[in-house]
């Protein structure tokens, strides 16, 4: 397949974004787990009465799942879906034109 194929370009773009977001997720979660394993002193710090840094970071890990998912969905719904729709429209135009079905 030629490198100018729009679908291949879309696939590369999607793969890149998906990979970046996945690595971010991995870093956030493994960071949290490694802090639990090695940073006991740090996570035990009380920020206010009843709230240790560990509990806050645990809750933020959950919130970060939401934020990363929403970033992906906003990108996919706007940019990705539009690019795919455009590629389909081009493909349809190319297949229907030679058939000569014009009024």
């Amino acid at each position: 397949m030629s490198t100018t194929d729009p679908i291949h370009a879309i696939a590369t773009k999607r793969w890149t974004i998906a990979l970046i977001l996945s690595v971010l997720m991995l870093v956030i979660y493994l960071g949290f787990i490694l802090l639990v394993a090695f940073g006991k002193g740090l996570l035990s710090i009380l920020l206010t009465q009843g709230l240790s840094l560990g509990i806050l970071l645990g809750a933020l890990t959950i919130v970060s799942c939401w934020i990363l998912s929403l970033i992906y969905v906003f990108w996919a719904n706007r940019s990705y879906d539009a690019a795919v729709a455009q590629a389909i429209a081009q493909a349809v135009a190319r297949t229907t034109t030679p058939a000569g079905r014009k009024p």
Binding site: M1, L21, Y29, A37, K40, G50, S52, C65, S69, I88
Partner: protein, 528 residues
């Protein structure tokens, strides 16, 4: 709790009656394999999000985490976060390509451009290993819980769960299973929210006041990392990897993406699932500490079930016996929805992958496919009941970890390489799946989980053996092994046909059925 709670039994029967009515309704609509496996692709993204949450949140998440937090404080929360982080991975890497490339099972995607027979047989090994270990964990959990909650005999409880679940799957297929999961998710989320509000009402709606009270009563270490759940750095990372990537290799979760009409709805359904499941796990913070303060650690331990009674006891403490009965019935519904999803995905693997694609070479009539799928569902249901009874009284806490570890080490690597790597081959896929499954089982057997916790060997003695593997969760090694073996075998034995097929995989992963439109494919678009 001694003695049966009549309200719990009443709620339970209302749930069973309602779901059986739904099953009757669904059975009338389940005429084709499309309906049996994929609910006719007619489920919306929002509905599927709820159903995914219902399929995923097992009794271990609800009763298990509440109990872990009630007894250990902060350490229990490691599971709350771990069980959510797999969902964004599914969203970024799996959901949309899976929906576009496959039909009923994840093997459809792995086998897309590879040789059908060897890949499907390997994928079914991965699927069945996950489904059976998870079924054992759920059935034993079900028997123990129902005994505690309703004071029913263990064997009878396992048989009831098995028969009700088989009824959903056998007659109602995916449509009934979906609605059972949606109802369960609503009940579970609703019940948890009400419970959390009742708890927080006693602390001026300030969770920090609740945590402070817990620290005041039980010492400030309940808010700090302890040593009970995470024993070492490598164990922690290994468990983290298993939870994160295992979610993306669970066949019953992956199968749900075929119930929506297209890839965009698949995307929307993961986001809803992530919101519901994440919200639920945030609530478990409050439920766990609530049980620690309002019920008390001693009472939670005294109720039996290894802490599993924390949430129901909390319901009793803040809402009285009616609410206790309601939460018990919700816990039961939780188990039913998960085992129904598991059984359906196992039946799909046996009938769609093995019977239709391996034995019959892809040629089988609708009638025959449906019959085989139903026979497979009955076989799996009976297996679930028998395994549940055989494993009675065994320590099965490691089973859930094992399930996630196999899913992350066998199914996930094969799926990712099939979707994203051009040079992936048939034998690469077979090696990745089989080696991932076998190495997980072997290393778990040679590790502290089986040797020390189950077989009660002396750790000083056993750790001197040459075969001893020091990690409780082998995922960090086995997942790496699966990826590496898949890559090495693919590079050593190239498969030109598979490489040539990658362009179509790439197109179809993005366009779905529309991939038949336009160049380079020359076929006219089928009316799908």
């Amino acid at each position: 709790m001694s003695g049966s709670n009549p309200l719990a039994i009443l709620f339970f029967f209302v749930f069973i009656a309602l779901t059986l009515v739904i099953t009757y309704w669904a059975a009338k609509r389940t005429k084709t394999t499309e309906h049996f496996y994929a609910a006719g692709h007619g489920v919306t993204g929002f509905q599927n999000g709820l159903a995914l949450a219902g399929d995923y949140m097992s009794a271990a998440s609800f009763l298990g985490i509440a109990g872990l937090v009630a007894l250990n404080g902060f350490d229990g929360l490691i599971y709350s976060t771990g069980w959510l982080v797999g969902w964004p991975i599914i969203l970024f890497l799996i959901a949309e390509p899976l929906r576009n490339l496959g039909k009923y099972t994840f093997s459809d995607v792995v086998a897309y451009r590879l040789q059908q027979r060897p890949v499907r047989i390997a994928a079914v090994i991965g699927t069945m290993a996950v489904v059976l270990t998870y079924l054992i964990a759920q059935m034993v959990g079900a028997g123990t819980l129902v005994k505690l909650l309703f004071n029913l005999d263990y064997t009878l409880a396992v048989i009831i769960v098995g028969i009700v679940m088989m009824t959903y799957v056998l007659f109602g297929g995916m449509l009934a299973t979906t609605w059972v999961q949606i109802i369960k998710a609503c009940l579970l989320l609703g019940g948890a929210v009400v419970l959390a509000v009742l708890v927080l009402a006693q602390f001026g709606f300030n969770p920090m006041a609740l945590f402070a009270k817990a620290a005041e009563l039980n010492g400030k270490q309940v808010l700090e990392p302890g040593t009970k759940v995470v024993t070492g750095a490598w164990d922690a990372v290994s468990l983290g990897l298993a939870l994160m990537f295992g979610t993306a290799g669970l066949p019953h979760i992956l199968m749900r993406f075929y119930t929506v009409p297209d890839a965009k709805q698949a995307r929307i359904s993961v986001v809803w699932a992530t919101i519901w499941i994440g919200g639920f796990y945030l609530i478990t913070f409050v439920l766990g500490f609530g049980a620690m303060v309002l019920v008390g650690m001693k009472e939670v331990v005294g109720a039996g079930g290894g802490g599993n009674m924390a949430a129901p006891l909390l319901a009793n403490a803040v809402g009285g016996s009616a609410f206790f009965g309601f939460i018990c019935a919700v816990a039961f519904a939780t188990i039913l929805a998960v085992v129904a999803g598991l059984t359906l995905s196992g039946a799909a693997a046996l009938s769609h992958d093995i019977w239709v694609n391996v034995v019959k070479g892809g040629q089988a009539s609708e009638r025959e496919q449906l019959q085989v799928a139903r026979v497979a569902a009955v076989i799996l249901g009976v297996c679930a009941i028998v395994l549940g009874i055989v494993f009675q009284g065994q320590n099965i806490a490691y089973m859930v970890g094992l399930t996630f570890s196999i899913a992350a080490s066998a199914n996930f690597p094969a799926l990712i390489m099939a979707i994203f790597w051009r040079r992936f081959t048939t034998w690469g896929a077979v090696t990745a799946i089989v080696l991932g499954t076998v190495s997980t089982l072997v290393l778990l057997y040679c590790g502290p989980t089986i040797q020390v916790d189950i077989l009660k060997n002396d750790i000083a003695e056993v750790s001197k053996q040459w075969w001893y593997f020091p990690l409780k969760n082998p995922c960090i090694i086995t997942m790496t092994l699966s990826f590496l073996s898949g890559i090495v075998v693919s590079l050593l034995m190239p498969e030109p046909a598979a490489e040539a097929g990658f362009a179509e995989v790439e197109r179809r992963a993005i366009l779905g059925a529309l991939a038949e439109l336009g160049p380079p494919a020359t076929k006219p678009a089928p009316a799908e």
